[in-house]
Each structure stands twice: as structure tokens, then as C-alpha cells.
Symmetry: D3
């Protein structure tokens, strides 16, 4: 259950309206790595958590904080849209700056939301839940979270660089700091989990069931060998189980596929001279070399 | 530029058709963390790479390999669909096993693709490019890649557990092994980058511009303090810059938002007794506390 | 800012797992009119509210409650998935009931979320923010809200009828009751707004600017006149401004469109004998009758 | 079956091309509450109508009219795009007005549709059928319709305010008038249905099966009590069954969720010291308090 | 403007309900190549038509017919859903046939649409307007139309083979026949256009501006030369301008890309030892070989 | 399996950065008919090919080539974005040209991809796999391919006309030439298939099962008969089986639909005086005239 506090977690007060910047700022609200994404990702991971309660509690703590970030950004964007020029007189229409402001705005900020925030990104694309993951495996998910906070902080920094409004920068400096914490947090949680299990997700799958001859090989699928000069191409593997190996010219290990014909009732392309398998007598045609 | 070799990278030969399993296997082809996602993610990261050529080469090597994985899965799914029962006689319609096979299949495997693979996931949802990221910042992106390989290996393992077909399991054991390598690979590349820059992405943003008093605080936004018992709540931060701090009762630091009224030409809700700002005389109403 | 309480708002305890029902229950979590939709719709309307504070407060109160409903449903669905049969032995595969359970499940509940809830509807389609509206005009939006609660209660009732699990029905009886309140609530808020402004949204647009000769006419665009027998076809209009009128045979009032040719640089279809307007000398061809 | 009349329902003749405005006008053609939405919503409600024929006929009448509105907007947008400047010479490229026109256009109006309308909204997002509802319950659906006409008229009014083109305004004044009628129409139809059944949808669910102690309570999930000052917080409920009640501090009525561990074959996070339930012996772990 | 006739264009009367088949039949209503797609595609092409009126008229004639097909399918699906078993008693739940029917149904046919058709395909994915094209170039678009009718007839035939219901087959035999006509129609219209212009779209682009040395070459980008054995690899080209040529080993004609570093304010990956271009002094780094 | 060659297939070297044009050029990379679409369409058709190996080989050859085109466009777009002005000083903000450049850019090119290409179209909409088709019927699919190459070449030509950058035009002249070949190629392949089977897809469905009285009739569903003046309205049909016929006034051949009431447990609209069918005793109500 949740409870709402009227004050924002931190200030959201722009120096002045800027509807073109409002459009850009939508990215970190409703984009792939915006605050809605991390809020929903952490809440769903928390609700699905079948592990120790400390993880569930931690996930719901941070998910609840991210809701406050959504609220701050929403409030900021609404204010950046204050008084946006939707009603243009003939004269104004000749002013190229007004023209470019109008051209640079998200038209839905006028037509659809009436100078309010929208749950979309900087090109107006709606947020959707395929952005998030809650897999039931915490090590996998915490890596997703570390990525989300890395992409998120990067985007906020780029937006910080794109404005000189002191009020906006003040709010962003808070979000950047929280992302510093959250990157630290997920690195800490990952370290803790990797200490109690193997680093390869999922750690519970018996490694002798995998095709181990290719478990530590870097395969060079291109001309040239620049890719040989990385930590991933030689030396001990990161899981401490083997040595990295560099395969200069990887070889195909599989068959040339030859698919059988489909039954007649599928009406695929007829092959001249070859009757399709009779309807209702499906005959498997997959070919083993 | 690319070149195609007819042999598959590894065998893709099921023991027998299984159209219900074919539907499930689509997840790791065309799902959020399927092979199309990693193929496209690595290729786009490679094409956008403005860093050292060894990274570009490595990204394109692995992106090219993932295309071979898409091809293996596509070939496997087409064979699992061989002879699927689309044409049902009256009698057969009474057989509950046939009924449940039909009910469990993806109907588009018959109607749309004629017993072929589709570029969709296990519920038939189409692959879309919002699944991938190529941000221009390699440390951020390699964390995305480590996550993708972790989620991907987890999903393939769950699919391995969901079948007893030896041919399918043979192919999956290959993909699982490659995911072992690829998790190792991204861990290695991350370690290399973290050694030459700070671990917080982006490392180039001056930390004195962020709101540093909240850069290392875990905030407890719920009743109870189970979340205090993690590595993230005390001790040195992972970036070595400070100590983690646990905030028992985080306080609001911002204003209570009061938005100004919109100009009359927006036609938002009228407020009784308060005239809207006149059209063409937009007056900013955002409120600074 | 928000705060989380560990207890659920109401019980979410199924009598027993039922993974097929779990799939269906997703509809009222992540569907078009599910709890995520109303939660997000009310929160965004609250954050965008430029009217009296009592509306803002009310919207955020109910938005915050809906988050608790999302949480209850998520918890219920995770439990309905407990122990779902992903690992099937050869013998089990012959049992048609197990077969149909597997066929009726959402495969992503095993492969993607590891027996956890997903932020999707009952066919696995992800929630997206085009489901919601926050227009800045409260009367319009409260009508959206009344609709959402009407569709939502209808769907929950249909799900109630689809199970005999007492624990599930207990939880749904709570959600149905809250939807009773919420329909009442929006009807009350609408009545209040309609009392202080005209019922036609937006009430602030001068009615003499609209084409008033068609403002109260029902137009019969089909054979037969069954549509004449409704309240909408005669008697005083609901806004009290006029009488409804029934147009038996509506006439076209506009031109037959004839579009001009596109400039040559657009490379539309050439029209034999008619040269396209020269590049860089665009000539407007729209035709006024 | 349908029949087409060549004349438009009303004039669609702009005074002059305006490709930036064409982009905006797309919102009420192909947006969430555009004419395609109401056309499809009414047609599907009509085709699904299992009630009296007068409702079916009325729905198909209005759905058929909305198709004429789609046609008018499509024709208008094509003309607003006449002669749009796609082919820019070096000199022109330095003119900031041309620059801003180009920047403000939807590039697909040149590249994809060759100066024709597209079935998308004002940010180029494609229309999709999750915008509409046909639930089989007419009272629910007529509330959806009243909302759609309210949002729609609001958007058209905002677009009217955004142009000074007399031809465009003439056409919009027609659409605004029809939306006046359609809001009236749905209010009338709702009144008629509410008179013959209870106003809470669905009226046929026995109210003693819902959790009646919370059926009329407004719950204050935030600090402060501004939300107490509304019609929804006291007095008789709108369905005449009870009195509204204001709950100052709503209490949690449910359990603290503790989810059981997943079976081993799911490969969720291992919990140190706790073995996962054995594969093939799934054991339900959901916890009843 | 449009007009509705109450009779269906052809019979839509199933012998008996079949909710699993209803789900499949949705494909040709709301799928990628379903009737909604062709209806919308033809109408938008007609409304955008800047060519001779006979094409505009023809496009609107056939678009109007397709609306009647949508109506027939909608009516059929609603009847196939009559009396679908949503309310299952304990005993019934043990019947595997009922189980598999429930598992094979689209759950939204009960929960969302109340036994009505939905504007979605056979996996419940919503129709969206990116399925259609109206490019302004009729030859291009008529090829799109011929494809749509080819895919559409193929899908209807597969659905015909998937049922033994005589009423359903009767209706489908009508749709199949109309698709025969429509394939013929687009072939005829294409022949007519190709006779008055060159067959390569767009025919108005001066061919000497294209890189003509590769305009007629088939490039063999794989091992083996099976692809040499087709009409496309030798003989006169279809546009009569040249001879097809088979390139055994296509050579790269372009540079090895080396991208310059991004400006510092973008915060891409730092390159050790290479300073990023200073903020506000962007320096172009693209490299010409 | 695939292999990567470092050189591009052809030059991709712009004369100078142009971030507004970069946004437009995205259309032919990640749009409905962009290079990702043809690449994926041909690869999936190849992998699903159950016909002669020469078709499979040809499809994979051309699919592999299209990957090289994706690569060229990606490289070009990254360079067009070089040094895009994200960091704007106060003074610069007053320059209308800079303003319009910023307004005309895709903001995600700065915020999300850090001056890299994105897998989206010219309005930022992500590529999705519902753009492509691989039906199993080659004649149908080759028609899809001819359409794709026609739309694609048309779009590239329009983009060629929209720039004066010689480097960009050089690259586009290569893509235009390849599209000339690819249109020729699909015409050749279609001719070959039509020679060995009937031109109506699927050719294997017995024509006596279709409703042959409407197989060759053009139906005039509008006022006026301009549509009579086309090749499609008279003369021999394209499949050589019959004569085209022009139906001046097409008649309805079907019933007026009257749907039965839904069972009570569906809670559709109650009909006054008509009890709903009892729960658990579903009674079919579909009406045969």
C-alpha cells in the first residue's frame, strides 16, 4: 500500500518557460530508460521477489523513490510549458524564432495535454512495459538495473548540458546525484550476490550440460584481428573456470538446412514435379544430415 | 559488408515436430532478450562506435555471430512446425490432445507464415527496436550487453528444462555455452573500461556539479528496515569516493507544486471566479515557493 | 513524494495455484482498463492539475490507492503461478489436462518472468501509455475516468464469474466494491463541474463560432429509421440549448475533392499529357469549387 | 454494406497550404481521440450490439458519419501539404523561415506519403485499435463515447485557436458543432439506459457479493485533507444506495506478502541455505497469513 | 460521405459456435493483411489520389467494399463466440475438452469484448496503421495492393482448410472469390500503368543520376551459386534496358568507416590519451578516405 | 552463418554534417520500407523456404546484401550528426537558424544515441517486425518484395531531391541503382513462378470451391461510374479464366444480422423485459435468416 506526501522530493522550479526543452526533458520521464521505466522495473521486481525479504524491501524502497522522480519531472515539464504560444496572430507567424519554437515543440503538449506533461519520450512515443524486466533471477535483474541507471544518468547529463536554465540544472543535479547512488547500489548488490553464487547467470544450471568446448572462445567473424587486443580474448575467464581462447577462423559445426515441403492444406509454393504431402496425412519432412 | 555461409554455426535438428514448443522457442528468437535483440544491439553499437577500433571490431564480430544464432533458431522452429495439424476432421476434433495442441499453438504459424518461423516472441508480439540501446558510451552499453546475455541465458535454460527432445537440447546446450562466453566477455570488457575511467557512467561529468549530499545515501521509503541489511546501506561506496549512508526517514526537500492557470486559448478547466489569462497575452504562472 | 506500507490494502490469497487463470487476471492489471491504467491516469491528471487544489489532492489520493490495487493483483498472480509445470516428463506429456494447462498458460510466465507477474494484459500485450489521458480539462478527464471505472468493474465481474476459487473471489469482491465507489466518485465530481459550467466540453468555446445549424441534428446515415426511437432523436437537447432534430436523409454540404498534382520532385504518379509542376517552382493546385 | 457519395459532408478548403499545421491537424484524424477512433469504436460497438436494434442502428449511423469526417480531414490535410518545399536550393537553406517550416513538418509527409495524409497522429505515431472499446455493455461503452467526444471537441477547439486560416476554421466549426451534437447524443443515451438500470456498471452483478463496507468510502491516501471538500466525500452516493464516507487514515486490511520459492527448474535466484523445491515435484509455497 | 445498408454483402452464418476458431478468424479481420488493412489502404490511397479521377473512384469503390467485408467477418466472429463457456463449475473444470477450449480461446473475447469481435489479429495484437501505405505513386501502391490481396487470399484459404463448418466455409468462399477478382484487378491496373510509364518506380527519376554500373547486377553474397539458376541472373532485364549480370564475388567499393570523436558535452566513451573536442567548439571528425 | 567485411559496399561520406537531414534519412534505414525491413524480410523468407534451393540461396544472397545497405546508412547518419549543437549558449539561443536546426533534429540523436544512428524511422518510431512477411508462398512473397523495392526506391529518390550534399547524393545514387536491380529481380522471379503456376495466389486452391459468380466482377460502390474506364472493368481477366464484368449497382446478398443475447455471466447490457440466458446454460442465439 502507498501513501502520498505533497512536497516534492526536491525542487522543480525552472527559471522560465521553455517548451522546446520540455519536449526534450520528456525523454528521462517516459523514455526507454526514463524514470517511469525504473519505477516500474523496481516495483515489479519487488512484487515478484521470492528471495530474502531484505531484497524485496530494498527494491520497493527504491521503486517508491523513483515515483517521486517521475513526479518531479512531471511538475517541471508542466511549468516549462507555461504560456506556450498556441494562438499565433498573423504578424507573429512571420517571426522565425516563434516559428522555430512552434516547430520544435511537441504538438501534443498543446493539443492533447493542454500544457501538461505526457507519459511519452522526447519524440512523443508512448512508454510501454516491454522496457522493463523482472525475471525472478536477482543477479540478472540487478544487472538490468545497473544498466538502466547508467543509461539514465548519461541521458540526464546530456540534458544538463543542453540548457542554461539554473532552476532546471538544479533539479537535474539532484537526479544525477541519485543516479550516482543507484549505480553504486546495484554494484554493491551485484557484488554481494556474486559472492554467494557463481557470476554466470543462472548459476544453478549444471555446466556439464552446456557445450563446453565453446564456452570460453572468442570467435572472430570478420576480416582483421583488432578484436584480439582485448581482455576478452586471452587470459583467465572472468568466472575463473578456464582461459579465454581466440578463434581466428571459426568453422561451421552444423548442417546445411533443407526443409521438407509443407502439407497441401498449407498452400505454400508448389514445387514443380513434387506433389505436396496429402492433406490430412501430414508427413514430417525435416531432414537430418 | 557481409557474406553468408550455408552451413549453420551448429546443429539445429529436432527429434520430432512439436508445434507447441515451437511457439515457446520464439521467445529467444524474437523476444525482448532474444537473438534478434543482441544481434541488432551489437551491430548498432559497432556502427556507432567512436572509440578504439578494437571495440568496433569486437562488437561487429559478436553481432555477426548472433545473426548465425537467429538463423539456427529460425531453422529449428520451422522444423518443429513440420506437419502441424491445421486441417482437422470431425473425429479428430474430439480428441482432447489434438485440441490442446491446436489451442497451444501460435495460430499465425499456420495462417500467416505457413509453418515458418515468425519474427515475434512467445506470445506473438513483434520484435521492435526499442529493445536495444547503442548510446555512444561503451561502459553504459557493455552493462546493457551483460544484462542481455544474463537474461538470455536464463531464458534458454528455462526452455531447455521445458523439453525432453534431445535434438533441441543439443542445440540449446550450444547457445547456453556461447552465452557463458558472452557473459564472460562483457565482464572482461567492463573490467577493462572501469580500469581506465571511473565506474560511474558517464565518468566525464564533473562530480562537483551534482548534488553531492545525496550521492551516497540509501533512502528508506517504507515501513521497516530490512533494507538496511545489505552491502548498499553501509561501508565504502563501490566507486571508492565515500561511505554509504542509510537514511531512516528521508525528508522532502522540494516545494508543494502549485501550477498556474493555462491561457484561455487552451480551454482547460475554468476555475470559478478566476479569469483565464487572456488569449495572446500568455502570462507565466509557475510558482516559486 | 511517496511512501510504501508493507501490508496490502486487502487480502490477496488464492486457495490454490491456477496458472491459466493467472493469465486471464493479467487483463485487469496491465490491460487497456487495468489498474496500471487508472493509476497512471489519475497521477498524471493530478500532476497536470491547474485547477483548485481539492481536485489535485483528490486525484493523487485515488491514484495512490490504485497503486495498491496494482500491488494486490501482482501478488495474487505470482501466487497463482506457484509451481507451474514447466518441466514435463514424457508421461506427463500424454496427459491432456496437463497439456491444456500448458497450452492455456502465458509462456512468458515461465520463460521471461520465472513465475512472476508481467506488466501485460491477458494476451501478453504490454501496457502502454496511449491508454491514458490527462487533457488539462477536468470535465473531459472525469468522463474518461468514469468510463475507465465502468469498463474496469465490468471486466473484474467477468473474471469473478470465471473462477470458483474463494480466495480469488474474496479479493475481487474488494476491487468490485472500490469500483462501485469510484464510479460514484466520478459521477459526483462530474455533477459538481457541470453545475458550474456548461456540460459541453470545452464550455469556454463561444458557441456562435461553431456551425450551429448542425449542432443538434441526428443524421440517419443508413437505410431504415430504428435510430429515430431514442432519446437522442427528439425532445430538448441535454445541454438545454435546443431541440434534437432527426435528419432522415442527410445531404452532402461539401465539394467533390480534386487534388492538384504534386511538384515533380515528389515523383508521384505521372499523369499522361499533364506535366508535373517544375521542381523549385511549387504551384499550389488545391481546387476550390 | 456501405456506399460512397463523392461529395464531402462539408467543405474542406484551406485558404493556403500550411505544412506545419497539416502535421498538427493529423492529431484529430489519427490520434487517440481522432476521427478514426470514433469511427472504428462506433462501428465495432454496432457490429457487436446484442441489444435492441435501435441502438445498433444508431451506432452504425454515427459510425458511418464519422467516416465522412475522416474523409474531410484527409482531404484538408492533403491540400495543406500542396507544394511543400522538399527540394531546397543552397540559398533557400539559409532562410530561417524555410528552415523552421522544414523542421516543423512531419518528414513522412514528403518521404512516405508524397504530400498526402497519413493515418497517424501529430507526432507521427500510427493509429492502433487499442484506442477503442466495444465491451458488449452499452452503458459502459456510451460513457467511453461521451469521453471520446469530449476529448475530441477539446482538441479540435485547440486546433481552431492555432490557425487563422478561414477555410480551415470553417471546416473545424462544422466538426465542433457535430461534436456538440454527439456529446448531447451520448448524454441522452446514457440517461435513457440509467433510467432502466442502475447507474453502476454492470448493473446486473448482485451487490451483496461485493465487499460492501468499502463501496462508498473515499480514502485519503495523502497528507492533508483538501480532498474532503468535494461532492464525492459526503452526502448521498450518486446511485442512491448509501452515504459517502471520508476515511481520514485508511488502514491496510491485507497480509504482508511472502512468496514461496520457485521450483528448481525455473532457475530463479538461489537463496543461501534454502534448497529449491526439486524439479518435477513442484510444491506450492504461497503463504496464507 | 458514406451510407450504410443493413444487409450484409454476403451471408455470415456459422453452423455452430466455435470460440477457438473465432480467435483464428480474427487474423483476416484485424491482422497485417486483414480486411481492415485493405479497407484503410484503399481509402487512404483514394483520398490522396492526385491522378486521374478514374483511379480515385476505383480506389474508393473497392475501399468501400472492403468495409463490407470487415462487417461480415465481425458478424461471423460474434456468432462463433455465442455462449462461450466463461463460467466453469468445478466438475466442468475436469473435462479436458472444455479445458482446451478455454485454453485455446482469446481471453479478451470474454473479459474485454463480452463475446464480441475485437479489432485485433489471431494472437490478440491490435491493428495499427503502419500496416498500410498510400505513397502518392500509384504504380508503387498498386503493387502493395496486389501483395495484400495475395497474402489475404492465402490466409483465407488456410482458414478455410482449418474448419469443417459449412456456414463458415460458405462465407469464406465468397471472400476467396472476391480476392480472385481483386488480384486480377490490381494486375490489370498495374499493366495499364506500366504501359504508360516505365516499370521501375518511380519512372520519373532520370536514370543517368543513378550508379548505373550496378543497376542490373545480381550479387552473390554467399558460398555456392544456386542463385545463378534463375531468370534474374541472366538474359534481358525486365525493364528492357540491359542484360542481367551475375557477380560471382562482389567486391566492396567503399571505405572502412572511422568515426570521429563526439564533442565533450555528449559524454560518450572517453578514449585514453585522446581529449574530446572541447564543449562549444564542436569539431567535425568524419573521415574521408 | 555470416562473415563481416570491414569495407562498406559503397562510399558513405557526406560533404558536411547536417543533423536535420540525418533525421530524415532514418526513414530508409528504419522505416516501414527501409533497409532493415528488406534485410529481415529476405532473410526470414530464405530461412523459411521449403521450395527449390535456388530460391533459398537467392533470398539469402539479397538479404545479406541488404545488411550492407543498413551498414552504409548507419555510417552515413552517424557522420551527418558529427558535432551537432547540443550545448547552446545564451547568445546562440537567439539565432533562429540554430533554433530551427535544434527544432528540426531528432532529440534522441543527442540524448539517447550520443550522435549515433537509431533503429527508427524519420519520426523516431521504432522498427518493428510487423513490417515484414514470410508467408511460405513464394509468389505472394515476391509480390511483397516488389512492392518493398518500389516504395523503397521512391523514398530514396525523394530524399535525393531533398539534399544538395554531393557525398550523400553519391551514396543514394548507389542505393537507387540497386533498387533498380531489385525491382527487376523480383519482376523476373515473379514471371518465372507465374509461368509454372496460375497467377492467382494460392494457385493450389480448387477454384470450384470459391463463389465463382463474383470472381470477376468489379463492384461500383459509389455514385458515378468513372471507375468503369479502367482495364479492370472489362475485357479478359488477367488470369485468362473469364471476362471482367462491371456491376453498376451491387446488391446485398446476405442477411440483416441479429445477434442473440449473451449469457448472464457475461454481464452485457440487460434488455428490458428479456431475461438473459441463465448462467451455465449457455444457449446459442445466433440467427439464421
Amino acid at each position: 500500500m502507498f501513501f502520498h506526501i505533497k512536497e516534492l522530493q526536491y525542487n522543480a522550479k525552472p527559471d522560465r518557460p521553455d517548451p522546446v526543452y520540455a519536449k526534450k526533458l520528456q525523454e528521462v520521464l517516459g523514455g526507454q530508460f526514463g524514470e517511469i521505466s525504473v519505477m516500474m522495473q523496481y516495483l515489479f521486481q519487488g512484487w515478484n521477489c521470492r528471495g530474502e525479504q531484505k531484497y524485496r524491501d530494498m527494491l520497493l524502497d527504491i521503486g517508491t523513490e523513483e515515483m517521486a522522480h517521475v513526479e518531479m519531472l512531471a511538475t517541471m515539464i508542466a511549468q516549462l510549458l507555461d504560456g506556450a504560444p498556441a494562438n499565433v496572430q498573423e504578424e507573429a507567424a512571420k517571426d522565425p524564432v516563434i516559428h522555430s519554437v512552434l516547430g520544435g515543440m511537441n504538438p501534443q503538449h498543446v493539443i492533447v495535454s493542454g500544457l501538461g506533461v505526457t507519459p511519452t519520450d522526447s519524440v512523443g512515443y508512448p512508454w510501454n512495459s516491454r522496457y522493463i524486466i523482472a525475471s525472478g533471477n536477482m543477479l540478472a535483474d540487478f544487472r538490468a538495473n545497473l544498466n538502466a541507471e547508467s543509461q539514465g544518468r548519461l541521458q540526464v547529463v546530456r540534458l544538463y548540458e543542453s540548457t542554461t536554465d539554473k532552476g532546471v540544472r538544479d533539479m537535474l543535479s539532484f537526479l544525477i546525484a541519485r543516479d550516482t547512488m543507484h549505480q553504486n547500489q546495484w554494484m554493491a548488490a551485484i557484488e554481494e550476490l556474486e559472492a554467494s553464487q557463481k557470476p554466470i547467470v543462472p548459476s544453478t544450471f549444471p555446466q556439464d550440460l552446456e557445450k563446453q568446448e565453446v564456452s570460453y572462445s572468442f570467435m572472430n567473424f570478420s576480416q582483421g584481428e583488432e578484436s584480439r587486443n582485448g581482455r576478452w580474448a586471452s587470459g583467465p575467464s572472468m568466472d575463473g573456470q578456464a582461459q579465454f581462447e581466440y578463434i581466428h577462423e571459426p568453422k561451421a559445426m552444423g548442417q546445411i538446412p533443407v526443409l521438407g515441403q509443407a502439407p497441401a492444406y498449407i498452400h505454400n509454393s508448389p514445387i514443380p514435379g513434387v506433389p505436396a504431402p496429402a492433406a490430412n496425412q501430414p508427413e514430417s519432412h525435416f531432414v537430418h544430415s
